[in-house]
């Protein structure tokens, strides 16, 4: 197991380097795409700031508080997207049978698919998320004990793991349905858009679904509410707020199983 992980990381690094060099062959388009991505995500937050020029609070949350939700969710998704986001293209490789060539290499397929068409331009979202997060932390009215300070990186990493599990499970599903990427996108990118706003602005049933069905609430809502000293809209017991790491681990294990099933179901194409 440990050697497989090492093998996977090594293969991931090698393939990422090959893709980065491939993209450098088209330098101008690389620069333009990176810039475009950065602008697109930046506008996203500008919209929220504009909203706050009209109102004092959103669902009872101040601008720094919303910025905190926005930043944590963006960084989590950004990390997962940078490292695993290319998996959504798996369907294409399944449909045209080019996954065959990856299956011939002496490296775990998951690592190879995650590194496939690695795009450094995805750093744009992380950068922007970190900027917003930094600003919000400097403005928040929170007593920053060591424990609270550690909670921020911990929750972003767990959040990234949760999103990565969704990316992986979504990709696994594409072994059976090659156009399943849309469904998975609505959970990752769509979920991220939702998590950027306070849970109080959404219908209760939606919040329940995001807590118990696809537990995205553990990415930032539950731990952030605790940090900000806000009550949980679902009135769950306090310890639930700290279940993020466990939820992330469970989701990763589930995604791993789905992935294995998917690979075994792969049927290539007739040639």
């Amino acid at each position: 197991m440990a050697s497989r992980v090492a093998q996977g990381l090594c293969a991931y690094g090698l393939i990422v380097r090959m893709w980065m060099r491939s993209t450098l062959a088209y330098r101008t388009s690389f620069v333009m795409m990176t810039f475009g991505d950065f602008v697109a995500t930046a506008l996203d937050f500008v919209a929220i700031m504009l909203m706050f020029s009209q109102i004092e609070a959103l669902g009872g949350f101040t601008l720094p508080e919303v910025a905190f939700l926005y930043g944590t969710s963006s960084v989590s998704l950004g990390l997962a997207d940078l490292l695993f986001g290319s998996m959504e293209r798996l369907g294409r490789r399944v449909r045209d049978g080019t996954l065959d060539t990856l299956l011939l290499r002496p490296a775990p397929l998951l690592a190879q698919v995650a590194a496939d068409r690695f795009a450094l331009r995805r750093l744009g979202r992380i950068t922007q998320g970190l900027l917003v997060l930094g600003w919000s932390v400097s403005r928040l009215d929170v007593d920053w004990t060591v424990g609270r300070m550690l909670m921020v990186p911990l929750m972003t990493v767990c959040g990234a793991a949760i999103f990565a599990a969704v990316f992986t499970a979504g990709a696994a599903f594409q072994f059976w349905a090659q156009d399943a990427a849309e469904v998975q996108n609505s959970f990752t990118y769509g979920g991220n858009t939702m998590l950027q706003y306070p849970p109080t602005v959404f219908a209760r049933d939606l919040v329940r679904g995001v807590t118990f069905v696809i537990p995205l609430a553990f990415v930032n809502w539950l731990p952030a509410l605790r940090l900000l000293g806000r009550p949980d809209p679902l009135g769950l017991p306090g310890w639930v707020d700290f279940m993020g790491p466990a939820v992330a681990a469970l989701m990763c294990a589930g995604a791993g199983l789905a992935w294995r099933g998917g690979v075994r179901a792969y049927r290539s194409t007739g040639s």
């Binding site: 060099r21 060539t101 299956l103 490296a107 775990p108 792969y266 290539s268 040639s271």
Partner: protein, 334 residues
């Protein structure tokens, strides 16, 4: 399994099947499930160092067999071992020991110089430096790759890319090399180069080679043993010579007479199929000896010269396919 036994049969295939379930349109909206038995219970063994041709018409199941032998596809039934490894279970472990070339797909990096793809192979397979350098040098020399190493793969011609792909599959010293239509679409010179290279690799390294092709010249020049698959079943497994006999092939006796004469008659077991001036063609069963025939002709006709032609392998195979289901039993080869 003992080492000696493993060496004896590097590839073991026992009653292997692959069934694809496909959905087919039936009428406007209805879809029915259908089964395609791509590989329908085949068995064979390949000892270390052998070079085997695997032929059959389109859709016979050749590629599917190779994909199961590499671990890409999980068999629906039967037992499969390559170098003692179950490919589907331990695909990544097997990967280090096999080399694969799919004529219709490339493993090379499209936008990068050819040598970058080789560098990736070196690192990913952890090929020791000295072995890597020696292998690369050899491939570059025999496949004429020197002028191509710095060229982005997308700029290579099909023949150049195929040579590049074959080299990539051999840099880690695989024990087995699978080639799925490696000469498809290549020009004559590239084909010749590839064949020569494969002979060399097989002779020097003892690399076991399994190759599918549509070009029977590949088989004639490379393989002593041929397996023929049709509709997912092996219809022949044996030597090239035996294949000619198995397909009820006929050999042809070509005789040059002193002058133009009416078609030769009255030679038992032979019939005249063509006359062109003083030259005549007599067909006779491939399994029979030509000597009594020659004697019988010489006795009654003014014979100047003669030659015997082997049956055309394409005809033989066409006949085998036609008789697919009731095909002859495999004469040995296992």
């Amino acid at each position: 399994m003992s080492g000696a036994a493993a060496a004896e049969r590097l590839i073991e295939v026992d009653g292997v099947e692959k069934v694809f379930s496909v959905r087919r349109k039936a009428g406007r909206l209805r879809r029915v499930k259908d089964e395609v038995r791509a590989v329908d219970g085949i068995s064979f063994r390949v000892p270390r160092g052998e070079m085997v041709g695997y032929i059959g018409p389109n859709g016979a199941g050749k590629s599917t067999t190779i994909k199961m032998l590499t671990g890409i596809l999980v068999p629906s039934g039967g037992r499969l071992r390559v170098a003692g490894i179950d490919p589907a279970r331990e695909r990544t472990r097997l990967a280090r020991r096999i080399g694969v070339v799919f004529g219709q797909r490339t493993t090379l990096w499209w936008d990068l110089p050819l040598k970058d793809s080789y560098e990736l192979v070196r690192r990913m397979y952890r090929v020791p430096d000295t072995a890597y350098r020696a292998n690369l040098e050899r491939c570059v020399e025999l496949l004429d790759l020197a002028p191509l190493l710095d060229v982005p793969v997308r700029q290579l011609s099909l023949g150049q890319r195929m040579r590049g792909d074959i080299a990539a599959a051999l840099l880690h010293d695989p024990e087995v090399l699978y080639l799925d239509e490696p000469t498809i679409g290549l020009d004559v010179i590239s084909k010749a180069k590839v064949r020569e290279f494969l002979l060399e690799v097989n002779a020097e390294r003892g690399t076991t080679v399994l190759l599918t092709t549509h070009d029977l010249t590949d088989i004639e020049q490379l393989c002593r043993r041929v397996m023929v698959i049709d509709h997912g079943r092996l219809v022949y497994d044996g030597g090239l010579a035996g294949l000619r006999a198995a397909g009820d092939g006929e050999r042809t006796l070509v005789v040059d007479l002193e002058r133009e004469l009416p078609p030769i008659e009255g030679v038992p077991g032979a019939r005249t199929v063509k006359v062109e001036g003083p030259r005549q063609w007599l067909a006779f069963p491939a399994a029979r000896s030509a000597a009594p025939l020659v004697a019988a002709v010489a006795e009654r006709y003014p014979l100047v010269d003669l030659s015997v032609r082997e049956p055309d392998i394409e005809d033989v195979i066409a006949k085998l396919y036609a008789g697919g289901d009731s095909g002859p039993d495999s004469p040995g080869g296992a």
